[in-house]
Symmetry: C2
Subunit: 414 residues, 2 copies
């Protein structure tokens, strides 16, 4: 069966382009922040596409959009496929969107070929995966999976002080369906771009995701003395920025020490008063450390604190820290990774197992049902920027793996 | 004569307190930015004080405020004394203001004692010494001395886009007198708080300033790749913040390498996009390096660029730099330092020579006439913060040295 089922390559490409035009940037990227006007536009567009495909559409209280295609067995649990349509600020056109379009293309192909499945199919666009306007990331799939509280998320605000709830209502996407599974789900399958360089480096066409790394996120604050840069001798200083810079540099080494797959980053740094002739009296900065092994994540966390303590002591600054988030690593169900691999093999693609370095909606879905992911190649590993790029062959291959794996699960063959 | 001439300690203290109430902060500091409403208030107050002291007041086109007391010799050049009444954001109550009040107290004491001087005396409040609202610092004394162009400075804007000229007019202090010396000046003498810890560490009451350090100010920008923090392996990164942090740490060492009096600081750092899960693609940060020896300043500047180049290469980021300002060191006239020292000796104060680590209006005045400065003790070396503190004895002693030195010059005794 497998080799006879192929999605429509041209339609897939055209549909990726259609969504990319909504919130597209001059630089060829996408600026479509969660619950912005552009997000409303792409949601309206997606709603139309689902209706055109005869799907039964429902919107839940978090704005998650579902479209259901019935199965032949009224007792069979639905198979869920999807990703997200929101983007990073000046992000890329594939991140999230390719997974939603891939899911849509799967049901369109089923219709084209007149295929009925035992299990119902649902496709989904999860609200606010990116977390760049409202934190945390993977928000609404987290509420759906019972990891986050709906009302707490409603109260989250963007930089202008708008609440998530108000913005959901403003764009007309606070739906009436309750958030969360109202029945058993057979499986959740997600296609996403890798956002890292491994598939390309390894010369592979498709990645079968076995795990998602665990991570620790947190914030450090150093407080020294905001003295005059000219009149204060070096031995008389408590320079919060020198201490912070020391930790930022050591974070890079820490990653190299701990493991081949460990990554550690400072993404945010804010100095006060941030004036050329005043020694920074206060500096706040973040850490983000990840590894497939939760024990290594814990070791990285301990090293961050140890380095911060040493730097603070050396510079004579006070310090405090807060861990904002700790996500354990996720291991996907063997059933899903094996089915994805079978699909890739039957299509005769080069494929390999891979560990995801970024969180995805699938992280939370793994709490609810058997979950799996397939990665498309990201050229140069670029993501969260306009330079993100996946060529059409790679888009097609990964979407075809998703479709073939979903077909196996939905027909009860896997 | 010297020991018989003493300013009025209580009046000095009361006048320092009076000015400190205008723009005073809850934390005991001063928030009186150049050309703000508070600056207008303190100018109005200073205007009244000068008129009450029978001084002939004039305001120049840069808002510099002068008050003149005639001399007995119509051909004698005036002796100028003063400093500035503007403050840093949440700065201290002594920085600048003590020098203006000390100058005022000198002419008041002359009146009390019925002393006439051969040379006219002028006291002055220079506009925008701090440079925290409008750059550069020491702006209007610089225009007066011919270092800066008046119209270029008029066009400078604050963070809200208000021009300096518009703000001068708004508060009614764009005067009609031309900016710059309209006659020869005999000397310029300035009292200021040290803003550093040396006098206190050395157990001295008064500092006779022999030099002002030279400095280089500039800005570096590193541009890497704004990739995903989770999905991008360490060896695949061009992290602009890691490169910047490396330079910031090395700036501290650079100062220790070059000389005992060298200081080097990063005061400003801005990362883009400044998001916890994006590798910083662009970081802009500043350098500020100072030394009494101009050759050491040049060496520091070259080291900053060399360190930046090495860090940029190591991290694979592009970089650019701009030197914003280079100020040569200033050596004050022997006549002034000797007269200040004579005054301190005749008053039986503990005094010592000292090099100023910060720029002052005297920096520019030294281009025009014989110039000297006296420093009051800054406890703990604190300045540019509400913690700035000089006890009343130290305020009095430094103001008394200023007055006695000014009297010597104004009477033709030095």
């Amino acid at each position: 069966m497998a080799n006879e089922f192929n999605i429509d390559r041209n339609r897939l490409i055209e549909t990726v382009k259609e969504q990319a035009a909504i919130g597209g940037t001059d630089g060829g990227g996408l600026h479509r922040l969660a619950l912005s006007d552009e997000d409303k536009q792409v949601r309206d567009w997606f709603h139309e596409q689902m209706e055109a495909a005869d799907l039964d559409v429902r919107i839940d209280e978090m704005g998650n959009m579902f479209g259901r295609r019935p199965g032949t067995d009224s007792d069979a649990a639905p198979v869920l496929l999807g990703s997200h349509l929101d983007s990073q600020p000046n992000g890329g056109i594939y991140d999230g969107a390719l997974g939603v379009v891939g899911a849509l293309e799967f049901v369109r192909t089923l219709d084209d070929q007149g295929i009925e499945t035992k299990h119902p199919i649902e496709i989904v666009n999860w609200t606010n995966e990116e977390g760049s306007r409202f934190q945390p990331a993977m928000m609404a799939s987290g509420v759906w999976a019972g990891v986050h509280d709906r009302d707490a998320m409603y109260a989250e605000t963007d930089a202008e002080g708008n609440t998530l709830r108000a913005e959901l209502e403003r764009i007309g996407y606070r739906g009436s369906a309750p958030v969360g599974p109202q029945e058993e789900y057979e499986a959740y399958l997600e296609l996403h771009v890798e956002q890292g360089p491994y598939l390309e480096e390894w010369g592979q066409s498709v990645g079968i995701v076995t795990d998602i790394v665990g991570f620790t996120w947190g914030e450090l604050t150093f407080r020294g003395e905001p003295d005059h840069t000219g009149a204060t001798p070096m031995h008389h200083r408590s320079d919060a920025l020198v201490a912070a810079a020391d930790v930022i540099v050591r974070l890079r080494r820490l990653a190299e020490d701990l493991g081949e797959r460990t990554v550690a980053t400072t993404g945010v740094v804010d100095a006060t008063p941030n004036s050329i002739n005043v020694i920074p009296g206060e500096v706040t900065f973040t850490w983000d450390a990840r590894d497939p092994d939760d024990a290594v994540v814990e070791a990285a966390f301990q090293r961050v604190l140890a380095e911060a303590e040493r730097a603070a002591e050396r510079e004579g600054v006070d310090w405090e820290w807060e861990e904002r988030m700790r996500a354990p690593s996720v291991k996907f169900a063997d059933r899903c990774t094996e089915t994805m691999a079978d699909a890739a093999a039957s299509l005769d693609y080069d494929y390999t197992d891979i560990v995801a370095g970024a969180g995805h909606d699938a992280t939370h879905l793994a709490e609810v049902c058997d979950t799996g992911m397939v990665f498309a190649v990201s050229e140069g590993g670029k993501s969260h920027s306009e330079a993100e790029y996946t060529n059409w062959d790679d888009c097609y291959r990964a979407a075809n793996v998703l479709a073939n794996a979903a077909l196996r699960v939905a027909t009860g063959a896997a």
